[in-house]
């Protein structure tokens, strides 16, 4: 999101306005989606999260868990978005700058609330490096090491976005997902690259992720939650039906 709009890009760049985020969230809720993630993509730049209005509207008619990310840099900022109705927060930039924030949020609000968001880009020599600000700023952190440390510090979940695949519809980076899931025992949500339901099936079966995040395929109405779930269930993945 780039308040007040829902937007979508390719590899987190070239953003296109899609519409009103709350309307989309509500449509997906009625369609049987399991959780909603709101990401404010300019928040870190301006050091604030502008999503409180949309969160407030969301908890009036979207009755599934809501995760909010973007620019959240302190325990007070977490308290604020939770107070407006979010269930979890996703933190990237602030955690890379001050990893203890993960522990502080986890202790104060519970690990279930603290989602560590990681933007991963493949390194030329192999492996992945963690980025911030929509894949623009490098952190120097190795993704797999960072994920492991984040889990040790108290993160309850990892939202793992492949910047290389994001918006490309070419499939999840299953090597990346598998590399992370093999070193942490908290759930990993794979994000970036879903073009077909087969991609989701590989992410779960080969990558061993606990969930996948879908944006492009839904926002451009290429698929509905019901179609995705029905096909995934046919492929033997157990999940809540719509």
């Amino acid at each position: 999101m780039k308040a007040p709009n829902l937007i979508k890009g390719v590899q987190l760049e070239g953003l296109r306005v899609i519409g009103d985020p709350h309307e989309y969230a509500h449509k997906y809720y009625l369609g049987g989606i399991d959780e909603i993630i709101y990401m404010d993509i300019v928040a870190s730049l301006y050091q604030r999260n502008s999503l409180t209005e949309v969160i407030k509207r969301t908890c009036r008619d979207v009755f599934v868990p809501v995760t909010v990310g973007g620019g959240i840099a302190s325990v007070d900022a977490v308290r604020e978005v939770l107070r407006f109705g979010a269930d979890k927060v996703a933190i990237n930039t602030a955690a890379t700058k001050r990893p203890e924030l993960i522990t502080e949020v986890s202790r104060r609000f519970g690990a279930q609330c603290m989602v560590l968001s990681i933007e991963a880009k493949r390194k030329p020599g192999g492996g992945w490096q963690a980025y911030t600000d929509n894949g623009r700023e490098t952190t120097g952190l190795d993704v797999v090491q960072w994920a492991k440390r984040g889990a040790e510090l108290g993160a309850g979940e990892i939202l793992l976005t492949s910047v290389d695949r994001e918006g490309t519809r070419t499939g999840f980076d299953t090597d990346l997902i598998a590399a992370v899931t093999s070193v942490v025992d908290i759930p990993v949500i794979a994000s970036g690259g879903m073009g077909t339901v087969d991609h989701l099936v590989s992410a779960v079966k080969q990558g061993n992720c606990g969930a996948v995040a879908v944006a492009d395929a839904l926002h451009f109405a290429r698929m509905t939650p019901a179609e995705i779930k029905a096909q995934a269930a046919d492929a033997g993945i157990s999940m809540r039906p719509t």
Binding site: D34, C59, R60, F63, P65, D87, P187, P241
Partner: protein, 211 residues
């Protein structure tokens, strides 16, 4: 006909989502920490998120325990949600022993760190899971609810009512039986979050509003 519900606000948890769900189900609702409001409520909802000891501590500090107990004695319905449900029991072992409200005899204990097969599993029990409803004792709160409805859980501790007939629905977490809905007369509780459990959760809320 508008149903009135009073949601206890003692400074913890995501009250706005609970309110949103009750609004959506057509209930006129107030959130309050006012003792007289609580005693004269038609129906009470006790939410709760976080550690048991903190929640009970906040309730006691605000002087809310006695008004809730007096409310229950009148026979009017009370619904506890998540830690709000756990507080209905006698005590919990979360971070030391803490006394609860004692409305449903039993204790709150940690979810075992392994599944029934002895393999380590993840605690907290977090995410969507299926209810196992026993229609013979499920009662009005679960009226019309699918026997295997999916609902959303987030918890590390689980309630063990002394009297098994207080378990209105369970969930299975890798072979560990989780008390998902408990009840004793007018006192009821959901371990999961009905306000985050889609249409199944809303149906349970509507049922509560009809009790």
């Amino acid at each position: 006909m508008s149903t009135r519900v009073t949601i206890i606000d003692y400074g913890v948890g995501n009250i706005l989502s609970v309110r949103g769900a009750f609004d959506h189900c057509g209930a006129e609702n107030v959130t309050t920490s006012d003792l007289s409001e609580i005693e004269k409520a038609e129906r009470l909802v006790l939410p709760g998120v976080g550690a048991f000891g903190d929640c009970v501590g906040e309730m006691r500090a605000a002087g809310l325990v006695e008004p809730v107990l007096r409310f229950v004695q009148t026979g009017r319905p009370l619904l506890g949600i998540c830690v709000g449900m756990q507080m209905l029991l006698d005590d919990s072992e979360e971070f030391g022993r803490h006394e609860g409200l004692g409305l449903i005899p039993g204790s709150v204990v940690a979810i075992p760190q392994t599944g029934a097969d002895g393999q380590p599993h993840r605690v907290p029990h977090m995410g969507w899971n299926r209810l196992i409803v026993d229609p013979s004792r499920s009662g009005a709160l679960l009226d019309g609810i699918d026997e295997n409805a999916w609902v959303y859980f987030v918890h590390s501790f689980t309630a063990f009512p002394d009297d098994p007939s207080c378990r209105l629905a369970d969930a299975d977490y890798n072979g560990r039986k989780i008390a998902a809905v408990i009840g004793r007369g007018n006192v009821m509780g959901c371990q999961f979050h009905p306000e985050k459990s889609g249409e199944a959760g809303l149906s349970i809320i509507r049922n509560f509003l009809r009790i």
